[in-house]
Amino acid sequence: MSGLIDKFDTWMAENFCGEFESLRGRATPGDEDIMPELRFAWERKMGEAGWVGVGWPKEHGGKGASLEELVAFNEVYARHGGPGRNGHIGETLFAPTLIAYGTDAQKAKYLPGIKNGTELWCQGYSEPNAGSDLSNIKTKARLDGDEWVVDGQKIWTSLAMDADYVFVIARAEEGTVGRHGLVFLLMKLDQAGIDIRPIKQISETAEFNEVFFDSARCHKDDMIGGVGDGWKIAMALLGFERGASTLGQQMTFTNEFESIVKLAKENGAAHDPTIRQRIAKAYCGLKVMRMTALRTLEAAHHGELSREGYMSKIYWATWHRDLGELAMDVMGPDAELLKDGEYGMLHKLFLFSRSDTIYGGTNQIQRNIIAERALGMPKEPRGKPK
């Protein structure tokens, strides 16, 4: 283990304690709307100690950690029971995009807040009538003097209720269709023109939100790239989503898996041969996800987009949904009864994971993408059916 990882291990042991104890293993998918204030404090603590952005290049304030170190970093975090991070959208999605496409001024303005754990970001992509069709953006942006004025609506915006900023794809050139004429804007959420409404989900929790833009504003310097570059930048960001950000997620998955194994040992489900087979399969999936991420990341490190990267979203989403069903079956006859305590999370896992195969591009859209981009199969005819 490198010195960096040893240091982080020690730091976690010394700092993830006290008031933060109540966050142990929490804030996982389906549970992300809990204890926001304590989690802000945790983000700041991580940031102050320099543990946000360890994978960023050193010239941008990161530690330039290698891929192996990033993997180990996430494993250490998970082993200590570190909670789901509400800073991860800024740290692992937005920041790498900003580093790749932003101006020096933009980097200077936004990277420090992310690095310090003081400014949280959310992602303004999906729209109510665009569904999985990201090119069908309807939110409009028009230039008014030095400012962009944005009108429209975003939906399924996770953690918007906790965030300070949102990056928004909007249509700047009226009359354009599809991927053309889009802009990628950085907007402060705390302004009169923006209204955030939480969406209550199947799990009774609300980590997703609707975000309404009614003449919301940002300065024209808060656009990454130029008019028409929105699509390219949005896609680059999704590339980062497929990559490094999955490492932390996998650690969450490992913890969930281990919790299920523990329950199976305790309640005797471990003696059920069909349960054992399913647990073995889930375990195989964990290992497959880890290696697929390494293959994708190694290729990305050499500036390539590898074909297997296209499968990561549908693979983890489906695996996680199946894990939720497995969790219920391991609970057995008791699965119907809601519980407090250690295994209370498993119901949330079961329910919330139904959304995994939908948000961020449904499984159906993922299959389209794989067929067309990884396998080079032709697009379908568009337009009205006969």
Binding site: S126, G131, S132, D133, N136, I155, W156, I199, K200, Q201, I202, E204, D272, T274, M328, D329, G332, P333, A335, E336, L337, L338, H347, F350, L351, R354, S355, T357, I358, Y359, T362, N363, Q364, R367, E380, R382, G383, K384, P385
Partner: protein, 360 residues
């Protein structure tokens, strides 16, 4: 009038469907039950059992019922399943009715069946063969996850006594019985923990004796009603999905015209009709075949419902997993029906035991 139903069945289907869908009201019915926190709708039950007279659909006419047997009950349960109506029909009009009709004494039948048929009483069944102990003529024990136990006026209980299985009825409002509603994943069907605390056997009206095997057969056969509920719920999930798919457009086409979407719906249809065939086959099975057919109906229909409800959410995209949209209620019921009265995995094991003659 489609096989195996008769015109009588079609008539009650029409009546129950109209009423149940009005109750459902695009999802407002289940949401109201959720808000109430009781997992049970007393008014709805009074209407169904009283005004519509459906509690006794399977009770013989001599006891004031409609005498429409398993098929009649299938009709009612399909419609209740399609509306998620939170009423204890399956308990009162289902398993309690069957235990009384098939195992009850003449006096037991005439004392309770007419009152069930008229909706005057509403028993649930509490299986205590291994949970109850008897000491000095009083009975103690705890049973968990009793469906609609908080809605029951009476409990029909079974307990072991003198090497026989005794069947008895006791009023729920007894100081030695404690009913505690449990917190459930499915908010529209209540479950209760029922504690019997030195209940005097004098308070129990014995309505019959039997043996374990025979009682288990009746319990297993009551799965037919549960399977029908699954069929009704699954059909509704498919209907909701088809309606949505015809309206929603993506990439300039109704999503219903995408082949992958169509194929997924076709698979839902296949699973649904599979469940329907299994359920109807059990309803018309001869007595000797009924237990096995009911076991099959339960696992096939519960698996189908869970798959279809899950697919329905998936095929709705983002809206599918919001609370506001009613699909999640069906999904939770489907999940509950997979484990109530034993998991589908256990169900397949029981079927395998029959195939292999308990060989393994």
């Amino acid at each position: 009038m489609a096989y195996p139903f008769t015109e009588d069945h079609d008539m009650i289907r029409e009546a129950v469907r109209g009423w149940a869908q009005a109750w459902y009201d695009g999802g407002k019915g289940p949401e109201r039950v959720y808000q109430s926190g009781t997992g049970f709708d007393l008014e709805a039950w009074q209407a169904l059992s009283g005004e519509l007279g459906m509690a006794g659909v399977a009770i013989k006419e001599e006891y004031g019922g409609a005498g429409l047997g398993d098929l009649g009950r299938v009709v009612v349960m399909e419609e209740l399943g399609a509306s998620l109506c939170s009423v204890p029909f399956q308990m009162a009009g289902g398993i309690c009715t069957d235990i009384l009709q098939k195992l009850g004494t003449a006096s037991g039948k005439s004392m309770y069946l007419p009152r069930i048929a008229s909706g005057q009483i509403c028993p649930t069944y509490v299986e205590g063969l291994d949970a109850f102990s008897i000491k000095e003529s009083s009975l103690s024990g705890v049973v968990s996850m009793n469906a609609y136990g908080n809605a029951a006026s009476h409990f029909l209980i079974s307990f072991q006594r003198d090497k026989k299985v005794s069947l008895g009825v006791v009023m729920a409002a007894n100081p030695n019985i404690e009913v505690e509603q449990q917190k459930t994943l499915d908010p529209t069907r209540s479950l209760a923990k029922i504690t019997f605390n030195n209940l005097s056997l004098d308070d129990v009206k014995v309505i019959g004796t039997t043996d374990r095997g025979r009682l288990q057969d009746i319990v297993d056969q009551s799965f037919i009603a549960l399977a029908a509920e699954c069929v009704g719920g699954a059909q509704k999930c498919l209907d909701i999905t088809l309606e949505y798919a015809g309206q929603r457009e993506q990439f300039d086409r109704p999503i219903a015209s995408f082949q992958a979407y169509k194929h997924r719906c076709a698979d839902m249809f296949i699973a649904l009709e599979e469940a329907r065939s299994a359920t109807y086959a059990a309803a018309i099975a001869r007595p000797d075949d009924k237990t096995e057919a009911a076991l099959i109906a339960k696992v096939v229909a519960a698996d189908a419902y869970f798959k279809i409800a899950g697919d329905a959410i998936q095929l709705h995209g983002g809206i599918g997993f919001t609370w506001e949209y009613p699909l999640h209620f069906f999904f939770k019921r489907a999940r509950a029906n997979r484990s109530i009265f034993g998991s589908t995995s256990r169900g397949y094991n029981k079927i395998a035991d029959r195939i292999f003659g308990n060989a393994a």
